[in-house]
Symmetry: C3
Subunit: 396 residues, 3 copies
């Protein structure tokens, strides 16, 4: 086991602002802070792989609130909490006595008396999820300052309407390790492209999170989608600014082939048009069920025009040496497996199954690192202590 490589790297970074802070959008974090998350994630994995306990909590709760279904992120959050010693407590709004009109401020404080971390997924409605997370974060900040809470629970964004930072960070760490280090990414090309799915209304947070983050690492980023499937323009600006700063390219195109051309990495995935999602949010707000049904029908019809946006073997051949790294946040819509026609053909998906699973496997460590950096004043010192005491994770 070699923890020193990580503590040394940490010691060279500035990330003091992460202490007792939240993780809501990757582009609110400095390069050093992003690097610190990757470093701690790798360090925690090093500990676990060497059967060394990473428990920094003797007691404490990690509260989760999932306003949308989740398997991968739910288990990743639970795993991260457990790795650090926190017990998971899920806030099931259906079983809770959250009064009609109860303020976010009140609920946030009521669940936080012994909470060290709060993880929230709220990705259904444009303009809502991230706003809600900020309201929760501000509420517990205030509660902490007023002496209502004895500790400041850290908020981790488990997917909102804007970003999906635990996903994009796990994806990025996968890329870094796949290519043998950030230094090898210079000049590489990643294609974040739309892909056809028979379902509609998939969140925009994944493509947004990916272009917002991946544009920071020296790679050229191509964002491809059919006309009408634009993502949030604010995030495009983030990506463009990153590219400008780094002297790399951020290109938008309406051709999947163009994006795949010579790409080192491809991330073909369905999402809903931003404008349609804004419309849907209004319709839900008005309780306009007929309007929602009409919109759904319209979206499915629109989707169906783009069935050729599939990651086929032919498409893959366009990539660098025909061997781009295929990525997906999973579950994917696989043609002939999970649907008649979908985002990716079965043979491509099968060939990349192992790396795809490994990609997903970074998420528990990324989340644990976000928690770790928010809770420990001196993460480097704590990592060194954990390594030194070398308490076994289990008595093999």
């Amino acid at each position: 086991m070699n923890i020193e490589q990580f503590t040394k790297r940490l010691d060279a970074l500035k990330f003091g602002d992460m202490f007792e802070n939240d993780f809501l959008l990757t582009w609110e974090k400095t390069d050093d802070e992003i690097d610190a998350v990757f470093t701690v994630a790798d360090a925690l994995r090093e500990l676990r792989e060497n059967n060394v306990s990473a428990k920094i909590f003797d007691s404490g709760l990690a509260v989760s609130l999932f306003r949308d279904n989740s398997t991968r992120t739910r288990f990743s959050f639970g795993s991260a909490a457990n790795l650090l010693g926190l017990a998971l407590q899920d806030l099931d709004e259906g079983k809770s006595q959250i009064a009609h009109g109860e303020t976010v401020r009140e609920t946030a404080n009521m669940i936080s008396f012994m909470a060290d971390v709060i993880g929230i997924r709220d990705d259904m409605y444009i303009g809502k999820g991230n706003t809600y997370m900020r309201e929760v974060a501000q509420s517990v900040e205030q509660g902490y300052k007023n002496g209502v809470l004895e500790q400041r629970p850290t908020l981790v964004n488990l997917q909102c309407d804007i970003d999906h930072p635990t996903q994009s960070m796990a994806d990025m760490l996968h890329i870094i390790h796949h290519f043998g280090g950030v230094e090898n990414l210079k000049g590489k090309k990643i294609a974040m492209t739309w892909a056809y799915s028979p379902s509609y209304g998939k969140p925009l947070s994944v493509p947004q999170g990916v272009v917002g983050l991946m544009s920071r690492f020296g790679m050229d980023v191509s964002l491809a989608h059919p006309e009408g499937y634009e993502i949030m323009s604010d995030v495009e600006k983030v990506a463009a600014a990153n590219a400008a700063k780094n002297g790399t390219k951020f290109v938008k195109t309406n051709s999947m082939a163009e994006a795949f051309k010579d790409a080192d990495i491809v991330y073909p995935k369905s999402w809903a048009p931003y404008a349609a999602m804004e419309k849907r949010t209004v319709l839900y707000g008005n309780g306009d069920n007929d309007g929602i049904k009409a919109l759904e029908k319209e979206l499915l019809t629109q989707n169906a025009k783009h069935k050729d946006w599939e990651c086929t073997e032919e498409m893959m051949k366009l990539t660098k040496g025909g061997k781009a790294l295929y990525m997906h946040c999973l579950p994917a819509d696989i043609t002939g497996v999970s649907c008649e026609q979908g985002e990716v053909c079965a043979s491509v998906f099968d060939r990349y199954r192992e790396p795809l699973y490994k990609e997903a496997g970074y998420k528990p460590y990324i989340i644990a690192a976000m928690m770790f950096l928010a809770k420990c004043k001196d993460p480097s010192k704590i990592l060194a202590e954990l390594a030194k005491s070398a308490k076994p994770r289990f008595l093999k």
Copy 2:
């Protein structure tokens, strides 16, 4: 950190009967036992605030059964269990194979093989909840004596039809600290008053728990409600007996203003008339849905006649210096916030938001103290040991 102040206080109290016993009604406990709960609650908070682990369990389960919705109490129970080292295991009767007609005795034993604590909320039906809890307690007592169970799980009442002891005890500890000690409560006046809510059928256990407990601390207690909103007469007798014993007053009135007059503490809260709740229990028992609907309509109409029972600024002006401590178990029905008209006006609620949240913050410690006193033979010694070993709650 100063734990000695608490261990000394404990050493002066008699509470041996709490060991391997349950906590069902506050008025079944002696003054010393009530004091012991407060003392241990404060001691556990002292430990946690000083980052000292209060884990007395290395493994073990805290089983919860919520037959009614809950956020605050659910999280408080989970927090208390976690603080002491127990894992929460919720008994979801919907997902359980509890056979039609399966006896309470059987279920109680089946969930208790490794349970150290059982917490139950069962507050919907008059004559049912507390009875059910006693049946569970007797079942596990018998199971323990017969060698079926290796330990005697402690039952904690998380709200029944009669009392809500974890609420009233948290409320009381808040009062004690707010006024700087029990010794300062002599001659103080607390007003437990009904208040209007657009919903109906709120449990009686809060007002009953409050008058049954608060009448023990040298305070005069006023119980105010419109005619027809009587609480359980047995609990009124408890309060009257407490007052007689202490030379204080227990006054019933049908005037909110009279109760508020010169009060040091006000607790305005909606509840359903006891007689109506008894009626409802019979209707549910008979599966008489039409009868239930008719009763609900009747209750809402009756409620609506008392919209003037609101904790307004004018009402607050009647209290001692206009500055009584406003209390509520939360969530409150706030006029113009959570409903058109409710229990309290927004400005009063806002002014007391911070103390209200602190009031709620005592509950995890109260529950943990109830568990602690039921499980530890010598709580004072264990507290001293925890303080001495000073294991960090988390590696900051």
Copy 3:
């Protein structure tokens, strides 16, 4: 405390194949392996009864997936996980984002990044449950070998369409202790008999598990049921082969009285005919609701012809000295208690209530032992270490 008796017994057994393996069917395990489970179960109980921690995990998850309702097994699995230091994480397929068509292989890996154990109940459809478990086990085996998973999660069968090993093993350990050791079982007779229940479609895995396991311990096994209530023929073959090997009897009969005659142990319990369950599985597969309703009606009518298959006092008188040990996996259908007429009369059930509860009490230890043997390379050494370090389970 005497742990040496268990470590010595373990040292005389061969069970190396259990390490990093699964527990799916008892008849896939050697006699030594079965013995090792009983030995470790007893050892873990010895530790816990002496307030010694059996925590071998500092962190880690035990994932549960219940595709059918459960109280007893759910709590047993949770208790076992907690005893060894694992946190329970339930996979609620309703709240999960398991895509239509998502492969078992994918889900299995996604939930297993930090999972040490996976427990599954999937007992509804013939030919499905056990197959599903094997698919999960193979998936995580592959994930482990490919470096996707850092540890090999162990699969524990919490009831499938074929076997219910945690039940039959708990039942068997109860028998062993009741009769004072395996050596006293030679020549004893156990009657696994069908019994009438007003419900239908109860799983076959209990009778199958019982005859498949109990036939290994020197006892004569009688399997009794009305014509048409045959169990899976493959399992009958297992029982017959066991009997042949041991020189004991495996007898099938259509007379409850014949089975009860001179029996030392009786296990009267309702189950559905295997052929009907096969038919039902096909109907479900076809979504044939009318067919299912018709089948249910047919089964209830068929059941009703056999109301005389009840474990009455008269029936019990036929057993050895009238004092056979009555067993049941619970909950039982008790005549006049949980139904008008059922599997057992109230007086018999009441007389055996205490042993029945004790029987159930073995399950947490059996499951914990299965986990222990799959995770520890040298279980005997680890048990000795736990006993030596003697960390208290709780600070009494």
